[in-house]
């Protein structure tokens, strides 16, 4: 019997010797652990240092003792003790017990776990994310700060994702940190209205993280931001399981991410939705996204993320581009126009309307948009496409030329050049 238990232990420790496993456990635990430590110490730097120390101890302890049952609680407790121990040593008092005792565990963990119930985690994590959304911080700093503090990406990883130097990113994050250090961080538990407002701000920031990655193309350092955003959204969804817009935001990102393998060709050039090989779409992500959207809509509390996720889901359901339910998409964009009026939404709607009622209808719909969208690549791209379909080649060419001038990525410019080649070939 003893023999068998011994060999079982060896098996377990072999499993945990896989450094990837410890890494992913630490990554998954980080938002909850750091945010609980922040509540305890009320100081971001102390919380981060305490968490770092806990991680170092985990890397030493877990391979030998096996991972704790509740890694988050372990990291909080060890991090807190490490930081307190430091303070006590400075004031020459008695040190706390070594964490081998804590890692040995069940008994030591239980009381802490009881105190750290889910509702505490919830508001802790939300607070940590919300701090990063401070309205005085520009969007790029909010995103950088969240990735550094909440996701725990290294400064060099974030710098690569934003295509800036490590020194510049270091400076950006330091500046953002000092700005929020001066701000009042609300540590009392939020009321329902405030909680809703925080969630909305945090949802916007998470979608910003996603879009940074989504528009980045094939660069893996940047594209990983999409995974990070989805991870944060899933975490929030577990903590706030009844928020339809949170379900829908997660669904929207999953549905967009499901097309990743089809969105770029082997040269890294963007492939338009209509030309994508739909067999490359990730069916698992689609089913998760559709299931979440389905859940969200049951609440009968429509919101912009639900509408956008429904548009994405309509594309996911179409076996081919020709089978796309344009009438459904047109209606959904009309709903989005009412909720969040914006020329870009109308432009998107015009594409659906043109599919339904022809290019003249699309042109008519976007006619009033030229002024607000005069600097927008997609406006001239879309108008040129309508004009081309109507055989108005000269005007189409002029708009394609304008679009090239406004392209922000080489892929966009290359795409327009292909259209110009088409036009030339037609003549």
């Amino acid at each position: 019997m003893r023999q068998r238990i011994g060999s079982k232990l060896i098996e377990m420790s072999q499993v945990i010797h896989d450094p990837g496993l410890i890494d992913s456990m630490l990554t998954a635990s980080r938002p909850q652990a750091v945010s609980a430590l922040l509540r305890y110490f009320r100081d971001m730097d102390t919380a981060e240092e305490a968490y770092q120390e806990a991680c170092l101890r985990a890397l030493r302890n877990w391979p030998q003792n096996g991972p704790p049952r509740d890694p988050v609680a372990w990291l909080i407790m060890v991090g807190r003790n490490a930081a307190l121990d430091g303070t006590r040593r400075q004031s020459r008092t008695v040190a706390l017990p070594p964490d081998e005792l804590i890692s040995d565990l069940a008994d030591a963990e239980a009381p802490l776990v009881e105190r750290l119930d889910e509702s505490h985690y919830r508001d802790d994590v939300l607070r940590l994310l919300f701090i990063c959304c401070h309205p005085e911080l520009p969007a790029t700093q909010q995103v950088a700060l969240a990735l550094r503090i909440v996701s725990g990406l290294s400064v060099s990883q974030i710098a690569r994702a934003f295509l800036v130097s490590e020194a510049a990113m270091e400076q950006r994050i330091t500046r953002a940190k000092s700005r929020i250090a001066k701000a009042d961080v609300p540590f009392e538990a939020p009321g329902p209205v405030e909680r809703g407002e925080r969630l909305a701000a945090v949802a916007t920031m998470i979608y910003l993280v996603f879009n940074e990655g989504y528009t980045a193309g094939v660069d893996p350092a940047r594209a990983s931001l999409c995974d990070e955003a989805i991870r944060l959204a899933r975490l929030l969804l577990r903590l706030f399981p009844t928020e339809p817009e949170m379900m829908a935001l997660t669904a929207l990102m999953l549905l967009q991410q499901s097309r990743l393998a089809a969105r770029f060709d082997s040269d890294g050039e963007a492939v338009l939705l209509e030309d994508q090989d739909r067999s490359l779409w990730n069916a698992k992500l689609i089913s998760e996204g559709v299931a979440l959207l389905d859940k969200a809509m049951r609440h009968n509390r429509p919101g912009p993320y639900q509408v956008q996720a429904a548009i994405a889901a309509t594309h996911s359901r179409a076996g081919t581009f020709a089978e796309t339910d344009w009438a459904g998409i047109d209606l959904l964009y009309a709903a989005l126009e009412r909720m969040q009026p914006s020329p870009v939404v109308t432009l998107n709607r015009a594409v659906a309307t043109a599919k339904l009622h022809g290019p003249e209808a699309g042109l008519a719909m976007i006619a009033p948009l030229e002024k607000p969208l005069s600097g927008y690549f997609h406006f001239y791209g879309a108008r040129a496409a309508f004009l081309q379909q109507l055989g108005r080649s000269a005007e189409a060419r002029a708009d394609f030329d304008r679009a090239i001038g406004l392209a922000t990525t080489p892929a966009q410019a290359a795409h327009i050049r292909r259209h110009l080649d088409h036009l030339a070939a037609e003549e």
Binding site: G20, S24, M25, R238, P241, T242, T250, S287, K295
Partner: protein, 129 residues
């Protein structure tokens, strides 16, 4: 004897696996699956979507977003049903709940369905006891 093997893990970790990591695990599992198919041992198998997609029905009217979270009740059985959406699944759960009112039903969409592979699988109901 028929057995059900229920697989547990940390979903925040598993659902953060990269495609390569996920494929590697699924590849190793598929080797086992194929062996079990050859041995005529494998019945239907499922991979579930994460608990964030779950909805729970208590009684006829109490619909809760999220998984079944009580620790005082135990898993006693499960159904696989084929319906178009969550509302239809909830309707089935309500029928079951009406017949068995003290039970709670967690509705969890399926990510991957591996069908029955035993060549002589009984078509009639099977009692394991």
């Amino acid at each position: 004897m028929l057995y059900t093997l229920l697989c547990y893990n940390k979903e925040d970790v598993v659902w953060s696996w990269s495609k390569e990591e996920d494929d590697a695990v699924m590849g190793r599992l598929n080797v086992v699956h194929e062996k079990l198919v050859k041995e005529g041992k494998l019945g239907p198998a499922l991979r579930l979507l994460p608990t964030t997609t779950a909805t729970t029905l208590r009684g006829q009217d109490l619909v809760i977003d999220g998984p079944f979270a009580e620790t005082k009740e135990q898993l006693l059985g499960f159904y696989v049903i084929d319906v178009p959406n969550l509302d239809a699944a909830l309707a089935v759960a309500r029928e079951l709940s009406a017949a068995n009112p003290t039970s709670t039903y967690e509705i969890r969409p399926v990510a991957l369905y591996v069908p029955e592979a035993r060549p002589n699988a009984p078509k009639d109901r099977v009692k394991a006891y």
